[in-house]
């Protein structure tokens, strides 16, 4: 099984990648550093899984070459689990990409990265509620220090695909 790491540029995909695979991809505090994909492996339970660090993309309607790579990657790996990494301080932009991936029927796990910076900025996210609405695992992470990465990995095998209709129903509920 494959795991794709997707998210906006500079949300820390490469940091998460290094954390879970123990690889040595260069991490930069600089958007657009990963223009090609990187591969690594992680063992979950007894299964060895391939992890791919996809170049950052804002949406699935590609604007440049690096984003095209990302979209193609998703199309080619329909049965893989997508870990959608969201910058917790800009959660709305991140959710846009997450919804697009959900619509395409992929299995999704959402990582709310940079959780510490969101706390600094006094942004409060109700993780439990978000999990209920989206119907997919949602895990707060601080990739640079490694917090939440274990939980994130443990949720990957339990990821399921959800229908966008159910998301719409859940959000309309209250």
């Amino acid at each position: 099984m494959r795991i794709l790491l997707m998210g906006h540029p500079n949300v820390g995909k490469s940091v998460v990648f290094n954390r879970i695979t123990g690889a040595n991809v260069t991490e930069s505090n600089y958007p657009g550093t990963t223009v090609d994909y990187e591969k690594g492996y992680v063992r979950i339970g007894h299964e060895e899984m391939e992890v791919i660090d996809v170049p950052g993309t804002f949406s699935l309607e590609p604007k440049d070459k690096a984003e095209e790579v990302a979209v193609k990657m998703l199309e080619r790996n329909k049965d893989s689990v997508v870990v959608c990494i969201i910058d917790s301080t800009k959660i709305e932009r991140g959710l846009y990409l997450a919804l697009e991936i959900i619509e395409r029927g992929s299995r999704v796990v959402v990582a709310l990265n940079m959780w510490d910076i969101a706390e600094d900025k006094n942004i409060n996210i109700d993780v439990e509620k978000l999990r209920q609405i989206l119907g997919v695992p949602v895990v707060p992470t601080i990739a640079v220090s490694g917090e939440g990465i274990k939980e994130l990995v443990s949720r990957i095998s339990g990821a399921t695909s959800v229908k966008i209709e159910s998301v719409m129903k859940n959000v309309g509920g209250s």
Partner: protein
């Protein structure tokens, strides 16, 4: 089911209303610092201070290793020892490729007394690679990586972008340009982040022509320390002049780059060390073999007479148009392999010809020519690779276009420098 853009935003709006609470947020010192580093009025002096720091660090660090120890090691011990024990001797073809070609002084072939002049693989080649360029790129990358990881580099890019907009220059991709200061190869790759084919073509071509790499900067700092600033300025200026012209000439759009600026944070030693190591590993495995091969290549061409033939063919252009001695042919050939090697050879040639036949202004022109005239082979390979991905069969037009720009630039910008010296009365 797929949603429309509006429907999606509608759902997100509802989700965020239910799950996210934005508390009162007061600006922290970090935010305020972030703000003043990108506003031109405060940002420019800060940028000057940072670049000053960069420069002094670079100079002090490289000077410590190169002038403090490595020059002594190579000129005082390594070269005499090799001249002593290496089989052959002056005049032998293998000896002149590997150790010392010697040079004519009033009709007699004499041995070189320093590693710039000897032009051997084991002498000049190793000296340029390890004695001069290695310390320089360690210093260079160390500082660059710290700037990058702290979050200052993207801010510098935004600041430069803002300033360019104010003076009417639009659509330049400053990010790849700044990345390119390290090495042109990853910078060419970074142009993938640009949206249109026109932009990618422009940036790839201009980067490869005008932006000197870290290795070249390092050796320039050792060879012509007083003029590095001028050379850089002249090259950057060329970048924008030709960028402006190309932007007008080539059909197509160059939309603005939207750059997300990351927050400032303390660079971690682990990541800085890892990145520095990755860069250095690249230097040892790719650059050093290329430098050594470059020396062999040029020396063989020299021995079979190709260099002299080329020098005579291009003499009218070199002497007449650019105002540099015809002996600069060999470094220009070497520049195709490695630019740092070429600058090192220029230095050796100046020492052989003497300051009268080859003065400092001519040396500066030659260094500028080395930068402009052809990207190094690694960059060319990368451009071809990217061009193929980008254009498919159109890659030929793409490359010919690049080459045409290159020729125009070399003649105009190189000749202009000669003209400047003439006007100043020094050429």
């Amino acid at each position: 089911m797929k949603l429309s853009v509006d429907e999606r935003w509608d759902i997100i709006d509802k989700i965020s209303k239910e799950t996210v609470k934005f508390g009162e947020y007061r600006h922290t010192l970090k935010d305020a610092l972030a703000e003043i580093t990108v506003k031109p009025l405060t940002g420019i002096p800060i940028a000057i201070a940072v670049l000053y720091g960069f420069w002094s660090f670079f100079g002090a660090f490289a000077g410590f290793f190169t002038d403090g120890f490595l020059v002594k090691l190579f000129d005082g011990h390594w070269l005499p020892w090799l001249q002593d024990v290496f089989p052959g001797g002056l005049g032998n073809w293998f000896y002149s490729i590997m150790v010392d070609a010697g040079h004519m002084e009033s009709g007699v072939l004499v041995a070189a007394d320093n590693c710039f002049e000897s032009f051997g693989v084991l002498t000049s080649g190793l000296f340029v690679a390890i004695g001069v360029v290695l310390p320089a790129i360690i210093a260079f990358y160390l500082f660059l990586i710290i700037l990058e990881d702290s979050g200052y580099l993207p801010r510098l890019a935004v600041l430069i972008d803002t300033v360019f907009h104010k003076i009417g220059l639009h659509g330049f991709a400053v990010v790849p340009m700044i990345l390119s200061l390290g090495c042109n190869v990853p910078a060419v790759t970074a142009t993938r982040n640009l949206e249109t084919k026109k932009q990618r073509f422009m940036m790839m071509t201009l980067l490869a022509i005008f932006i000197p790499c870290g290795a070249q900067l390092g050796i320039m700092l050792d060879v012509i320390p007083e003029y590095v600033g001028f050379v850089m300025l002249y090259l950057f200026l060329g970048f924008f002049v030709f960028g402006f012209i190309l932007n007008e000439l080539i059909p197509g759009k160059s939309p603005e780059m939207i750059l997300d600026v990351p927050p400032y944070h303390m660079p971690t030693g682990r990541n800085v060390g890892r990145k520095l190591w990755a860069r250095l590993r690249g230097f040892f495995t790719v650059a050093i073999p290329f430098v050594l091969l470059g020396v062999v290549f040029v020396n063989v061409l020299y021995l079979v007479g190709v260099i002299d033939w080329l020098a005579n063919v291009f003499e009218p252009v070199l002497v007449g148009w650019f105002g540099v001695p015809k002996e600069t042919t060999a470094p220009l050939v070497a520049a195709f392999m490695r630019k740092d090697l070429a600058v090192g050879q220029l230095m050796g040639i100046q020492e052989q010809l003497g300051m009268v036949a080859f003065n400092t202004y001519q040396l500066v022109t030659s260094v500028v020519l080395v930068s402009l005239y052809f990207p190094c082979i690694a960059t060319v390979a990368m451009i071809i690779k990217e061009g193929m991905q980008d254009r498919g069969k159109g890659v030929i037009t793409f490359l010919l276009g690049s080459l045409a720009v290159l020729m125009a630039v070399v003649f105009i910008w190189g000749g202009l420098l000669h003209l400047i010296w003439i006007i100043l009365g020094v050429a």
